[in-house]
């Protein structure tokens, strides 16, 4: 089946479709630190056509009395087309992820996707700065890979409570990103320190794209920073979802709209279909 060649507008014309209920075989599903697990699956070609910032909607096994009736959205941590594998990095915190944690090698994961609008790197981008905290780091890694492949320098600022909770560091480095680590422990992860850091990075080498995920505080920081310097930027958002295909309208959040005449209003958009990646300046926090 030809995959990326099929645009939504052409669907129905043949029998190749860009989104599928991919039945993926679990390769491993292990703890990477005390809070996070890394799930690696063998994925079919449709799934491997995913782009940075897109996500999969996972059927999670039941967790005790919770049947996990709905799927759970999960951002992609790594698309490894050589190995034919997808990586998901997740925090075990709700019944969905508790169910996911029960999957073992050889089990099957039903992963609907890839879905959603991923990151859009402006043509000719020279220097991408991404800043993430917690599981947000997982979501940004594929963007680093794409940006480096597109010839851009990538500076990844990773924030965590302590160094032992850092994730994605190795993946980012091996993808060619320059990694800067800030932690609460060390005391350089507060907004003031980070703003100063961003200014230093920008002064050293002009940033022309910023991206973030997973923290309102960091998103606000990047909104202010990118507005001040006129830098394009995007954020990957999270919201409780129903269908992940734009059908149920459950996952809306408010965004700023600009009409043709310049009038600005605020309206709901679907995180699953209009996002989960949105332009920073349109995002209401």
């Amino acid at each position: 089946m030809s995959l990326c060649a099929v645009k939504p507008d052409e669907a129905g014309a043949g029998d190749s479709f860009p989104v599928a209920e991919n039945l993926c075989t679990i390769v491993s599903n292990d703890w990477v630190n005390e809070e996070y697990r890394l799930l690696i699956v063998d994925a079919p070609a449709i799934a491997l056509a995913a782009k940075a910032g897109q996500f999969f909607h996972l059927m999670c096994p039941p967790d005790g009395e919770s049947g996990n009736f709905l799927r759970r959205p999960m951002s992609i941590h790594r698309i490894d087309r050589e190995q034919g594998q997808l990586h998901f990095l997740y925090k075990v915190q709700g019944s969905g992820t508790r169910g996911l944690a029960t999957l073992g090698q050889g089990d099957t994961l039903d992963a609907l996707g890839p879905v959603g609008q991923g990151f859009t790197l402006p043509r000719g981008t020279q220097h991408v700065v991404m800043i993430g905290r917690g599981v947000g780091l997982a979501t940004l890694a594929p963007l680093a890979q794409e940006a480096v492949a597109a010839g851009a320098k990538v500076t990844a600022i990773l924030s965590a409570r302590m160094a032992s909770l850092l994730m994605a560091e190795d993946a980012l480095r091996s993808d060619g990103a320059e990694v800067v680590i800030v932690t609460d422990d060390v005391g350089n992860s507060d907004t003031t320190s980070l703003e100063a850091l961003l200014r230093r990075v920008h002064a050293d080498r002009p940033i022309d794209f910023v991206a973030t995920c997973g923290s309102k505080r960091l998103t606000r920081l990047l909104q202010d920073f990118s507005t001040e310097f006129g830098i394009a930027g995007q954020v990957a958002l999270e919201q409780r979802m129903g269908c992940a295909l734009g059908m149920c309208f459950a996952c809306v959040m408010p965004f700023r709209n600009t009409a043709a005449d310049g009038t600005r209003t605020v309206g709901y958009r679907r995180v699953c279909w209009d996002g989960p990646v949105f332009n920073l300046e349109e995002t209401v926090l």
Binding site: G12, M59, N68, F69, M241, L245, C248, F249, A250, M253
Partner: protein
């Protein structure tokens, strides 16, 4: 080869499977060929633009979901210029689902759709009007009849009445819709429900109440489909917790001519296609030449059988 076609009034559908309103959007065309469906029922819209309810809009329940979406709408122009053309790419009849605040509003909107390319209009008289503590047109037989009558006066298109399950006697509403001129009934919309988070002590959807949908609702709606089919002579379309071919068959045996699938498509977007395959296989296994033979084919226990089973 089983004949899957069914007739809903003057319309012949290639098969009895269609999405419930609000459970299919353009994104589904990325998953399978929408031409396979018996009909495409589009998400309810209103003439005016609406944003819908504040989030959280969904809560997961046992074997079901609680949705409190409101009726976000991009208005009639968007529907005519964007939505209809998108679905016209598929070889499937389009059914418009509409809502309005007044009887006149339903009529006026129906009129605007007359030449839009849709084959029928579904009147969403049943979406819980949460501003009125759940009361809606569909909870009142007089309002139901008036809305359908106003739509029929305004358009030549067939009108389907999507009933509210939040009523005492669904047969009364069914007959009111038939008297108003409805060409078919859709039984039924979501049941008004509520859930509270016992840690925060707050409602699990921002709007307090929402509609429960999914498999948990099927047995109650099944009873209502049976009651509707007994009460009227127009076709009844079953809608409530249909997850697979077995559910569709059960609704047809109870009296439904066709069925709508809703929540299951959120969980399994290919479910309607799988349903069609399994429905075909069932008919072939049972030697059923026409799927329409299933409609109302339920057999009551005979007195002899009850005696054998230990009746007194």
């Amino acid at each position: 080869m089983t004949d899957l076609s069914v007739r809903i009034g003057d319309i012949t559908l290639a098969n009895p499977i269609m999405p419930g309103s609000g459970t299919l959007a353009e994104g589904m065309a990325d998953v399978f060929d929408l031409s396979r469906l018996g009909a495409i029922v589009t998400k309810t819209f209103t003439d005016d633009l609406r944003e819908g309810n504040a989030p959280p809009r969904v809560a997961e329940l046992q074997n079901s979901t609680l949705f409190s979406i409101g009726i976000p709408s991009k208005g009639t122009d968007y529907y005519l210029n964007k939505t209809v053309p998108f679905y016209q790419k598929f070889n499937t009849p389009i059914v418009a689902s509409i809502s309005a605040d007044t009887t006149e509003g339903f009529g006026a909107l129906a009129a605007k759709l007359s030449d839009s390319g849709v084959v029928a209009i579904e009147a969403n008289i049943s979406c819980p009007n949460l501003k009125k503590d759940g009361l809606a047109f569909g909870m009142d037989p007089v309002a139901t009849e008036e809305v359908i009558r106003a739509m029929k006066a305004a358009t030549h298109l067939p009108v389907w009445a999507k009933l509210s399950p939040n009523v005492g006697d669904i047969a009364v509403i069914a007959r009111a819709a038939e008297n108003g001129g409805a060409d078919a009934l859709v039984t039924a919309n979501a049941m008004l429900a509520m859930a509270i988070d016992i840690e925060t002590w707050q409602p699990r959807v921002a709007n307090l109440m929402g509609g429960i949908t999914g498999p948990a609702t099927k047995p109650v709606i099944m009873r209502m489909v049976y009651q509707c089919a007994q009460a009227v002579s127009i076709p009844v379309i079953g809608c409530g917790g249909v997850s697979n071919a077995a559910d569709a068959i059960e609704y047809m045996l109870a009296g439904a001519t066709a069925v709508q699938m809703g929540t299951q498509s959120f969980v399994q977007p290919t479910a309607m296609v799988k349903l069609l395959d399994d429905l075909t296989a069932y008919c072939e296994r049972r030697g059923i030449a026409k799927v329409s033979k299933l409609t109302g084919a339920m057999r009551m226990f005979s007195p002899e059988q009850l005696a054998r089973q230990g009746s007194l």
